[in-house]
Amino acid sequence: MTDQAVEREVGRARLRKEDARLITGQTNWTDNITVTGLLHLAVLRSPMAHARIEHIDVSPALERPGVVAAFSGRDLAGGLGSLPCAWPVTEDMVLPDHPPVAVDEVRHAGDPVAVVVARDRYAAADALEAVEVDYEPLPPVLDLEEALADDSPLVHADKGTNRAYVWPLRTGEDFEAVKQRADIVLHRRYRQQRLIPNAMEPRAVVVTPLAASGEFTVYSATQIPHILRIMLSVVTGVPEHKLRVIAPDVGGGFGSKLQVYGEEAIAVEVARRLGRPVKWTESRSEGYLATHHGRGMIQDIEIAATREGRLLGLKVDLIADMGAYLMLVTPGIPILGAFMYPGIYKMDSYEFNCTGVFTTRTPTDAYRGAGRPEATYAIERAMDELAAEVGLDPVEVRRRNWIRHEEFPYASIAGLTYDSGNYEAATEKALALFGYDDLRAEQQQRNERGDGVRLGIGVSTYTEMCGLAPSRVLRDLRYSAGGWEAASIRMLPTGKVEVVTGTSPHGQGHVTCWSQIAADVLGVPFEDVEVLHGDTLAAPQGMDTYGSRSLVVGGSAVHRAAEKVVDKARKVAAHLLEASEDDLEFKGGVFSVKGSPEARRTIQEVAFETFTSHDVPDGMEPTLNSEYLLDPENFSYPHGTHLCAVEVDTETGQTRIRSYVCVDDVGRVINPVIVEGQVHGGLAQGIAQALYEEAVYDAEGNLVSGTMADYLVPSAADLPDFVTDRTETPAVSNPLGAKGVGEAGTIASTPAVVNAIVDALRPLGVHDVRMPCTPERVWEAVRSAQARSARKEASA
């Protein structure tokens, strides 16, 4: 390593500044926050999926000890508007009313019907039992296809349909025409089961009112303090400038805290009415009903190809479960996937059609990867089916279709411009690390021996779109906000630096990475940088954290803001050194005059001189502060190759992951330790979808997997050691060259695991296993394949 490389912070494996608080328990989770006079709010929820509220009386709750107030939906309706949906994906999208507390009708198990406020949390929970509610059951709406039938019961009777919207995309040649000239047309149906995001910190909100001025401070376990502030203002009518939203330490989100929840609005309204601070904290099982779910789609995918395995066209018909209401970005999640079904492949025709459907289940919305894992799953499963059909190795089929390194930038058939990528390099590296050829040889031997435990090898080569998003693209997608991100740099009189970011981290290590970026540009020590975030008073502008946008957009904004500080400091330094700006060098935090290195000023010295303002250039503002709002030019496109080897016991259906190798290309790496950590976590969530997790409902619409005891979040004992590596092809559309990493592991791993399971069982006649691939489902798949082949033999 050269000296210069050691000096640079970007790329260095810095340990996190965030950790000290977290490993000593000096944390500021929302539920830890308490203030004098605090009241506790509890929410009574519908025990039924769909029912009319015939009668409700909250007054018996008021008799209970410690209870201060109780409200029904009707009581609160005057103060609270409908919860927002910011993504009307089509002009004619059906947008039902969504009261934070149901008024006449409940539409999913867990829909709030009343709230109770008491002096402590036990008293509030007890008093819920006293609220009297009579329900008139209505038919649940659960099956996505039946929901679209003309005679289906309706989730929102006043809307006359369960169809929320139909969103089409057609590009390239006509798909039917392409099918005519194809040798092979494959049709497959895949199901994306509903998942429950399960951030370890349950949601919580604390609202403190200041009656005299009409101001409210809202602490919330949220990913989006800035968006929440705007939306809470709309829902509650509290003017935006009277609301301060703080996301203190936030214990994970994975998309589930990218939301404006009813409880946040209710807490503001109750605090306003009572003039007292209010806290609500969800229990885990309450959260399973009340915090949005992810996925929930049926995918019909058709591919047309040549006998040589070359893709000609792709058609996707998607039915997406919205749940009972459209929440903040519910309708847009499947649309994000629309652009990703073609993946890394070239083709002549692409047709996509998405139908959003209302059901009487908990609303869906963003969950890690949000639309992109679903798309990648479908295309990567289908590529394996194509490989089997034409008798090629799955890796070879991908090679024959992917965009080659020299073809970048590449206009994808879905209308995106992939700025950079090198699929060959990542794949070759992954195959070597994995020992692909040896494993294939072992697989063949075991198949020939007819082993009861089969070896399967799964590959997934993916790309995704991160850095959401160029504002103009969001306009075209009818999303109601921009995609810029804000950063401010304040160089303090002593030379210490405050970076203010509009992103809102919840475990991703922004404080450390942003410090590295700013330290490099400013030439100051890493330790001298502090990062402020997650408070609309300290960081008034921002678009928050989701969709692997924080580094790509927010980190780039920090980089640009720091450059602005250097530009300004250069003017002051030139003035102080009586030199022209062009004659100044800036290196390692020092301005020096070219040719006379003794004439120098450190940037810290310049900061102090600017603060005193005794001798600055005429007309200069006396601070070394800057602000930069960066609107991304393009998305960024991480990619990679994931390989999974599984052993599947054909007698028990048990799957064991034997090895997992991934090579991801996330562009330039700011901190390799954090990148690796993000990949690990993503893999765990993606593997969990493949093998373990599913929100299960019964025929009445009750959530059967309603607690952590019934919903299998994998533990350390359930997951393997991962082998992770990288290639580094910098993004060209942002100053850091970064591409985003938070969702990569989740997007790529689900199809890699399921492809491996199907690969293990294909010689037995299995072509698919429905997720999650539990032992029971795998066993069923093996048994029915055996039964099919027995029938075939009998009839032959």
């Binding site: 950790d19 830890n32 350390a716 990288r726």
Partner: protein, 168 residues
């Protein structure tokens, strides 16, 4: 109300509590020791793990009255004079936490393991932490951290080193 006397992180408390009050709520709401978080209501997640009389327990399944006469240690009682324990250092050095919500419980559970079995293998660590769920790390770095302590590899000097780029 029931009278209890309990020592928490070295401080003795005398209190009147409802018999149904959970130990975790006693620690958090009554004593203000919020370093121990709550992640579920079914004792599955382990975020609230503390030590009661030297053994790790999930404090959401223990009543405060059951801790009467006992000694409780939470994550807030581990560091002495600002010096972190080896496990705390190892979690930091191996990037074994992201959001950090599960971390107090993980550290307390790992302490229990290392007391019982000072030199566990990787599978034993995974098995021992089965009752503690993490959603961020994929567990690999948590396992590495625990193994690092078991193998005495948490040299303080390593803390700021740049050679920690770990790919298997």
């Amino acid at each position: 109300m029931t009278h209890i006397s309990v020592t928490v992180d070295g401080t003795a408390y005398e209190d009147e509590v409802e018999p149904r009050l959970l130990l975790v709520h006693y620690l958090r709401d009554r004593l203000g020791l919020t370093g121990t978080p709550i992640g579920c209501d079914t004792s599955n997640c382990g975020a609230c793990t503390v030590e009661l009389d030297g053994a790790s327990v999930k404090s959401c399944t223990v009543l405060a009255v059951q801790a009467d006469g006992g000694e409780v240690t939470t994550v807030q009682g581990l560091a002495r004079d600002g010096e972190w324990t080896e496990l705390q250092r190892a979690f930091h050095e191996r990037h074994a936490l992201q959001c950090g919500y599960c971390t107090p419980g993980m550290i307390m559970a790992a302490r229990d393991l290392l007391r019982e079995n000072p030199h566990p293998g990787s599978d034993e660590v995974r098995k021992a932490l089965e009752g503690n769920l993490c959603r961020c790390t994929g567990y690999q770095n948590i396992v590495r951290a625990v193994l690092a302590v078991a193998e005495g590899e948490t040299a303080a000097g390593e803390r700021t080193g740049s050679a920690q780029e770990v790919t298997a």
